[in-house]
Symmetry: C2
Subunit: 455 residues, 2 copies
């Protein structure tokens, strides 16, 4: 079925499944619902009413519901969790992936999560607790503990037999990790390697010992970049003494990249955590207001600076007309440079290219843009404002100076911020634009004031 | 080896390999270089001087160099290509993936690409030509033709034997696609399914017939979203009559997502195609200048509008001081709303949530933000500007009106643009900000003019 057909089919399925739920047809429901891909189950569950959601819980075993629960957004998980019986919840957590359980338990209060952990199977609870101990956004925090471990002596035939037993539990069986007696990572066997070897070959013969692994404390973004660059399907996570503790798969990495992009966007627009469409207007306003108000105070600084030049303005009110043009163009140049820098930081291009090269390039770009815009603007003002060369020169030259500075500020501030690990929110688009506003206006009014007697 | 160690090792390797190249040690070079992952080969090749790059070509066979060539950026590919002998180039293209050959040949002039195609192996040339016929950014254009086809009658044992032969050529063997006699997609067998079945089971017994596929004309972004949502490793591409023509793998999809993100950023900052760090200052300026100049003309419109209110300004010059504050705050609100809309469009959230809901929410957010900022600002102006209530009211109320409008414009313009498939560049951040500037100033000066006699 192609995607269109999938969509149509999904609607038919949905109607059918809702009918089964309403008529309490257990068998009909299970036959249809359990055929669906977990992603479709999640979507359908998300769309139906609360009362029908409860019916779904009654019709599914904790193990069957576990797949669906893993796919839900945190908010939905919390709502559903409130309606679960304690025993159902514990059974469900026992069959979920340890990393998904850890993610969820980290979000409810400690007493309750401790209580649940104490009722869970010992082994699973231990895995979950290990994962919960990692700092957020590290390799350890996003890795999964469900993977296949091999020992060097096994033959290809043994491994295949073993996979028939354990495969359904593992997150991926496309890479199989080989450990030595100290639980240290010794090599990797891809399923591809395994399948093209003869049944009698041992793991030692097949495995590659050149395994790229990441440390458990590694930043999730670096892990994502590594997997992306090398086209890996998974990467093993090790402790400093090389013990294999988990793996990170490519689908987790896609989610990390998406998350980091959203963060970049939020920074770019000073709306951290507020670009989520599911927020209410009130919550969004509450999250966005502090940024706006802080930025408004910078606006008051600008107002004061203009106040200083009130005399100049009083003599030539026309100067006010070009303020938005100068501020706007400088702001746009700064934003373009910021985009270059943010993308460079996100894709790791600076590691190779060097920061100085970028700053020099942006200065060069800013100067060239400044010259072009200056010439165009001077010609227009000279023509349309009574051949007033002094006005044309003041506005044009201020624009040139403002653009040259703005390009450098737009590119360097995020790099500096990143280098010193300061909270990058202060380097976001609006802050840089506001900063550029202040500098451009100071340039503009200083030049205008010094040439005032010629106007 | 962990990542740090990889980096250190890479430097040692690099030094070693450069030494081998300089001393023309063929054997040493090949032993070290061919051990590296293709991604590392590419990086090393990119970093060394032109003369050493030529030495690499002499030391590698066309088939060995093909892997490296596939990984290079287009710009580097073009430079290298100019230095290749015709015969070397043809042999190299014969061993490259058809999709990579198609991507490259689309970038050189038609006469030369036709010439090369006519010298290539017939089968490979045909595959390349088929791929080149697709519109850019469609499933057909990004798919690979190197995949494993199975027929329903084969047994698991047969398939494994077959994989031992053909696997090294295929892009992925983790999903194997089953076709009927009309070449139509009939099912899928994952390597996982294959390995956990008994050797005598037939493909028909093992395969899943519920295959999600995409049409060859499907937009690449939709394909990427599908793979991401369902955590697929690959997805098959079919013609309208269901013939299987290729597959798209998860690593291609990560690149597509990255590409789309970069586009979103470029739009956000009106610097389309210019966020690439490898551009020279001159090229970057050339690409960015048109946007800046167009935006500068909008700035002239603003200058004209302010000119209309010259009388008002002449009477109360202080009004000019608050222009940047009102424009800036409205601009920031608009940008925040734009971020919400762009992210919503990128992640497909609107398909479910509905556009109206978002517009209403943004209006609500804008009004609330407007009220908060108005109250804060009125209090400050009243206190610090000689208890001038009229001034406080003009500035505060204008800010409220400007924010409410800006939030709605920021959210709706990109959605409308997207709906009517207009070039989305006109909905980019700077355009919306400029539009908001004009509206805010008109609100501000209209209110100020009407209350002028009270000031």
């Amino acid at each position: 079925m192609d995607k269109l057909k999938t969509d149509r089919k999904r609607n038919e399925y949905k109607k059918q499944i809702v009918d089964y739920l309403v008529s309490r047809n257990l068998r009909g429901f299970r036959e249809t619902f359990l055929e669906l891909h977990p992603t479709d189950q999640v979507e359908l569950f998300h769309e139906i009413e609360r009362s029908l959601q409860k019916q779904v819980l009654l019709f599914l075993s904790p193990a069957e519901f576990a797949d669906l629960f893993e796919g839900l957004e945190l908010e939905d998980q919390l709502t559903v969790f409130e309606g679960l019986s304690y025993q159902y919840a514990v059974s469900m957590f026992n069959t979920m992936s340890a990393d998904d359980v850890a993610d969820f338990l980290a979000e409810i209060d400690t007493d309750r999560s401790q209580d649940i952990l104490s009722s869970m199977d010992l082994e699973e609870a231990k895995r979950v607790e290990e994962l919960m101990a990692y700092a957020p956004k590290t390799a350890g925090a996003i890795m999964t503990k469900e993977f296949v471990r091999l020992s060097v002596e096994s033959t290809a035939k043994d491994v295949i037999a073993e996979l028939r037993e354990t495969a359904p539990d593992a997150e991926t069986i496309y890479y199989l990790y080989v450990i030595d007696q100290q639980q240290r990572l010794a090599g990797v066997v891809s399923l591809r390697d395994l399948i093209i070897s003869t049944p009698e070959m041992t793991v030692e013969d097949i495995m590659s010992t050149q395994v790229v692994s990441v440390n458990e404390d590694e930043d999730q973004e670096d892990v994502a970049r590594l997997i992306k660059e090398y086209d890996f399907l998974a990467v093993p996570v090790v402790t400093p003494d090389k013990r294999l503790v988990g793996i990170i798969t490519v689908d987790d990495v896609i989610d990390v990249l998406e998350e980091e992009t959203t963060e970049d966007f939020d920074e770019f627009s000073a709306s951290r955590g507020a670009t989520d469409l599911s927020l209410t207007a009130y919550t969004a306003a509450k999250k966005r207001a502090p940024w706006l108000i802080i930025l408004m105070f910078f606006g008051l600084v600008t107002a004061n600076i203009i106040g200083i030049f009130e005399n100049t303005l009083e003599q030539v009110v026309l100067l006010a007309a070009f303020m938005p043009l100068i501020m706007g163009t400088a702001g746009n140049t700064g934003t373009q440079s910021l985009a270059v820098a943010v993308r460079g930081l996100a894709t790791g291009s600076f590691e190779r290219g060097g920061v100085w090269k970028t700053v020099k390039r942006e200065l060069g770009t800013g100067v060239m843009l400044g010259v072009i815009c200056m010439l165009v603007l001077m010609a227009i003002i000279y023509t349309f404002y009574d051949n007033d060369f002094t006005l044309a020169f003041i506005v044009g030259f201020s624009l040139f100076a403002a653009l040259s500075v703005a390009a450098v500020i737009g590119a360097t501030v995020p790099i500096i911020i990143n280098k010193f690990k300061i909270d990058p929110a202060v380097a976001s688009g609006p802050f840089i634009t506001t900063f550029n506003d202040i500098i451009s206006l100071m340039i503009y009014f200083s030049i205008a004031t010094s040439l005032l007697d010629r106007l």
